[in-house]
């Protein structure tokens, strides 16, 4: 789990927030806080698919499916099996 969290954090701060030195807490809201907007949400989904081989359907791209790094990592973990 740890490595997924780290990989996700790195990707989001460098590619989406463009603040490579920023830290994201594992329970920090990402979507409902406005940190990740709807255009960038698609980038997260595409990245998750490429990096982990896990698909997030377009109807799932909202804060109800995942809003924090922990939730996203859990989603990836549950679908990898």
């Amino acid at each position: 789990m740890d490595s997924i969290l780290e990989v996700l954090e790195k990707q989001i701060v460098s590619q989406i927030l463009k603040q490579p030195n920023r830290k994201i807490a594992v329970d920090e809201p990402l979507i409902s806080s406005g940190l990740i907007d709807s255009f960038s949400l698609m980038d997260v989904a595409l990245y998750v698919e490429d990096a982990f081989g896990v698909r997030i359907e377009d109807t799932e791209l909202n804060a109800d499916t995942f809003d924090t790094l922990t939730q996203l990592a859990a989603l990836i973990d549950s679908r990898k099996k």
Binding site: K18, S32, S33, G34, S38, L41, M42, D58
Partner: protein, 559 residues
């Protein structure tokens, strides 16, 4: 000379059973409505407005999402002779308090007589109402009596005259919502006649659109024009499209779509983010005109879009451009069909510093060239000229403010005589946009003073700066907002810079996060860069105003 209701009646008498509109949903089957079904649904809303004692000529604000109710309520208001204005619906991104404040601001200027919304949103709307304001009725969709007979003779809209105001268009944000563009039946028809010719519009056309109806491009090109021209419209929700952009391609394939309009960023978005597995069976060969409009048009974006979709039948000459604004109903220009929009290679340095478009053929090899794509030629009913600061006409290829004259201009900003007066000079409408003309082609180089255009949406920087001042730790007057062009996204990224007293990096990060959260929640605009700086970072003019362009240059240098 005609009116919207007269045109609808004519369309109904000719082909009542033709499919006028297909609504698409993310979680339900497509819903196709014939002309008769559309107008029956609309007349149930016209009836409801009559029962609510709303008078023809009064404004009705629609707060509805993509779907049947929105289209019925819009055309129902038209059939009743009321003036519909579509307000964006509250999304999860925006704070309800801000939404209520924006709605109150709109009500105070526009003075609508009624608001139509969903029962579950009624309380939210009533929360924005104030004692003694103009709103007499909040009409909820589940109280509408459906299934009523269509009787044209009983509809009040047939009393309206061509010069009467038929619709109001607002742009977004606190500033935009207080400036409603009022358009007459005649102005809209003059636009449709001229634009229809430029597009070679014919009854076999099929418009496919995901654009929101509260912006001119979606409302006119992606809604009113196809309906009033008797052309099949396939309509998706912008919120579904942004999560599944491939659905545009699938819909063009399924319905043999011929016409679409897209803001520039959508070309990059589609080219970069659509997976090949979503394009199985896609055939774009029917697409004859895909018009890039509503933010600066980029040749590179067309190129990327074409490379991505050419093997799916996309024709290069389908990719066209337009320059448009609500004040002219919609289109001012359109690139001529049959070829590609004109592209000029000009000297980057001369463009930036001397405000002239010097052709690359006249340059030294050492100078760097940039490509500018034309937005096309003025429509048959529009005259365009470029003015200097003293409002004198400039020669070709010199950059100045674009001014226009046409028979499809706004009647005025609704209840804003002051703003209307300011917008015109000597019978010419001053767009506030900058550009130049070359061989009859209009090139747009920059937008409304400091206006930011992100994803096709106009954003007033002062709205974002005001919100920043509401964050603890930021002082009034010590923030600046601007847009910087993002090559990869094909649109502008929003930057906010704010000065704080603390020089502790952890504290600064906290304020930066708070700004991001607060501004996003209150504007529904995502911020790409939030930079918190020490006092005295922000450059001011001698009169103490924030100089946005100077701060932008400073930010870009430090990046």
């Amino acid at each position: 000379m005609t009116t919207f209701p007269e045109r609808l009646k004519t369309l109904h008498s000719r082909t009542p059973d033709r499919v006028a509109l297909t609504l698409q949903f993310s979680n339900a089957d497509d819903l196709s409505l014939t002309v008769d079904q559309l107008l029956c649904g609309a007349s149930s809303y016209a009836r409801a407005l009559t029962l609510a004692k709303i008078q023809p000529g009064e404004v009705v604000v629609l707060i509805l999402q993509h779907g049947e109710d929105l289209v019925y309520a819009f055309w129902g208001a038209i059939l009743h002779g009321a003036i519909p204005s579509i307000m964006p619906f509250l999304t999860e991104k925006l704070s309800p308090e801000r939404y209520r404040a924006d709605l109150s601001a709109l009500i105070s200027v526009t003075r609508p007589a009624a608001i139509i919304t969903y029962p579950e949103f009624e309380a939210e709307v009533r929360g924005a109402l104030q004692e003694g304001d103009s709103v007499r009725e909040v009409i909820v969709t589940d109280k509408i009596e459906k299934q009523i007979d269509l009787e044209f003779d009983s509809l009040a809209g047939f009393q309206r005259k061509p010069e009467d105001i038929v619709i109001l268009q607002h742009s977004s944000g606190t500033t935009g919502l207080q400036k409603g563009v009022a358009l007459s039946h005649q102005a809209v028809f003059n636009q449709l006649d001229a634009y229809g010719k430029a597009l070679n519009l014919n009854e076999d056309d099929v418009v496919v659109s995901w654009l929101p109806l509260y912006h001119d491009m979606g409302l006119i090109a992606g809604f009113i024009m196809p309906i009033l021209s008797g052309i099949h419209l396939v309509l998706q929700s912008p919120f579904d499209w942004v999560r599944a952009p491939y659905k545009l391609m699938q819909s063009v394939t399924k319905y043999r779509g011929t016409l679409s309009w897209l803001p520039n960023f959508a070309y990059n978005f589609c080219a970069q983010k659509i997976r090949d597995r979503h394009l199985e069976g896609v055939d774009l060969s029917s697409w004859r005109v895909v018009t890039n409009c509503s933010e600066p048009v980029r040749w590179e974006s067309h190129q990327a879009f074409y490379e991505k979709f050419k093997s799916y039948g996309l024709k290069r000459e389908a990719l066209q451009t337009s320059y448009a604004m609500a004040e002219n109903v919609f289109a001012v220009t359109q690139s001529p069909l049959g070829g590609e929009p004109a592209v000029l290679e000009i000297d980057r340095e001369a463009f930036m510093s001397e405000r002239v478009a010097k052709l690359a053929s006249e340059m030294d090899a050492s100078q760097s060239a940039m490509k500018m794509m034309s937005s096309g030629r003025p429509l048959g009913n529009v005259k365009v000229k470029v003015l200097d600061e003293n409002r004198n006409e400039l020669p070709e290829r010199v950059i100045g403010e674009i001014a226009l004259q046409s028979d499809c201009m706004l009647t005025g900003y609704y209840h804003r005589e002051d703003a209307t007066q300011q917008a015109f000079h000597d019978g010419w409408y001053l767009t506030g946009d900058y550009g130049f003309i070359s061989d009859g082609e209009v090139f747009v180089s920059g937008r409304k003073k400091d206006m930011i255009i992100v994803g096709g949406k106009n954003v007033y920087p002062q709205d974002l700066e005001s919100l920043t001042y509401e964050v603890a730790g930021v002082h009034a007057g010590r923030s600046v907002a601007f847009g910087i062009f993002d090559e990869e996204q094909g649109t502008e990224d929003v930057v906010i810079i704010a000065e704080v007293d603390s020089e502790d990096p952890a504290e600064q990060q906290k304020v930066a996060d708070a700004i991001r959260l607060h501004v996003t929640k209150n504007s529904a605009i995502a911020l790409r860069y939030v930079k918190v700086v020490d006092p005295k970072w922000i450059l001011k003019t001698s009169s103490g105003k924030t100089a946005r362009s100077a701060n932008k240059e400073k930010f870009l240098k430090e990046m």
